[in-house]
Structure formats: structure tokens, C-alpha cells
Symmetry: C2
Subunit: 113 residues, 2 copies
Amino acid sequence: MVEYQQLDATYDALANPVRRQILAELMAGERRVTELAAPFDVSLAAVSKHIRHLEQAGLVRRRVAGRDHWLRLEPGPLASAEAWIAQARRFWEGRLDALADLLTTTDAFDVTG
Amino acid sequence: MVEYQQLDATYDALANPVRRQILAELMAGERRVTELAAPFDVSLAAVSKHIRHLEQAGLVRRRVAGRDHWLRLEPGPLASAEAWIAQARRFWEGRLDALADLLTTTDAFDVTG
């Protein structure tokens, strides 16, 4: 996947509360699919579909050990998704700082002051 | 919109390269719809659809002045979207730090060391 397609896939994966909750659970460590599904008020089939969505986006890896399917987080794509917003914010804040500087300078020349 | 629905809408809005580019443009300041559409290799109708998507997600506000439609960024929802990932990352990193601490402590008791 090229970078912008990975960003598309990551944000798309994050755009659902069940998938965000699954990711939050996996932040604490590896989990079995059945464990992950238990707290949700949706079917195992529905949770499985969300897990596949996360796997396809490269956010989750599956490891099969006998009858157990273990899932773990792949944090790399999340870091890129955070970085995109953080970079945009820094640019935005820099613009506001520049505006504040401009207004301060303008004040200094304000003959009504 | 309740908080999780706003997060859904924000990540969904971010899951497209044209919409991210529009947001990046608006970080620099207010823009006319026609100005925004110019650099894209897609129709004005397609760009307009992406802009409506961003407005519905609460990321962009429209101001009509005569025949001009001006757009400006609403950065609040982006901050929440960044914060969710950042919080998850801190939790994840904290877990890795705890693991590193544990391994260090275990080393101290390693009789083979």
C-alpha cells in the first residue's frame, strides 16, 4: 500500500466505535478473538468482520495456535495517522502564532493606543 | 453529535486523500470553493461533494458573501481525533515501558548473569 492509501485505510478503520474499542483492548496486549468479542453487545460474526477490517488495514495481526486465534496490535499505521493530524495542527497553530505576532506589531503602531 | 459519533465522522472524513488535501489547504486560511477545486484533477462537482462531506463532519464551515462561497477550517474535531490516537499510544508505550522495567528487574535476579 502506498502511503496515502495506508492513511485512507487507517482512518477508515478508526471510523467505528467497535473497531476503536478492539484496538484499545489490544493496546493492553495480545487477545484471543473470543475474549475480544465477549464485552460487545454484537454477534461474534459482527466482531469477526470488524477484526478482518482491522487486519486488512494492517492494524492487527492474527496468530493461529491450535484452536486459538490470537490478535495483536500493529501500531505503525496508527503512528502515521497521528502524525498527519499533528503536522496539520502545528501548521495551523504556527499560522495563528504568526497572526498574533502581526497583531502585536500592528498594536505598536496604533496611533489611537 | 455525541462524542463517539463525532470521532466516527472525523476519521471517516479523513479517510480520503482529496478531503485531507482540502483540510491542509484550509489550514493556511479561508479559501473560496472555486480556489480549492482548482488544483485537483477531479471535477468541481466531485470536490463539492467532498466539501459537503467535510461540512457534515463539522470540520469545515461555509460563509456565503454575494456569489462567493468561503470555507474555513473548524479544528476542534481534528484535535479530538488526534487526542484519541495519542492517548492510545501513550497507553501502549506505557505498557512497553512497564515490560522493559520488568525485564530489567528480572535481569537483576538472574543467577546466570
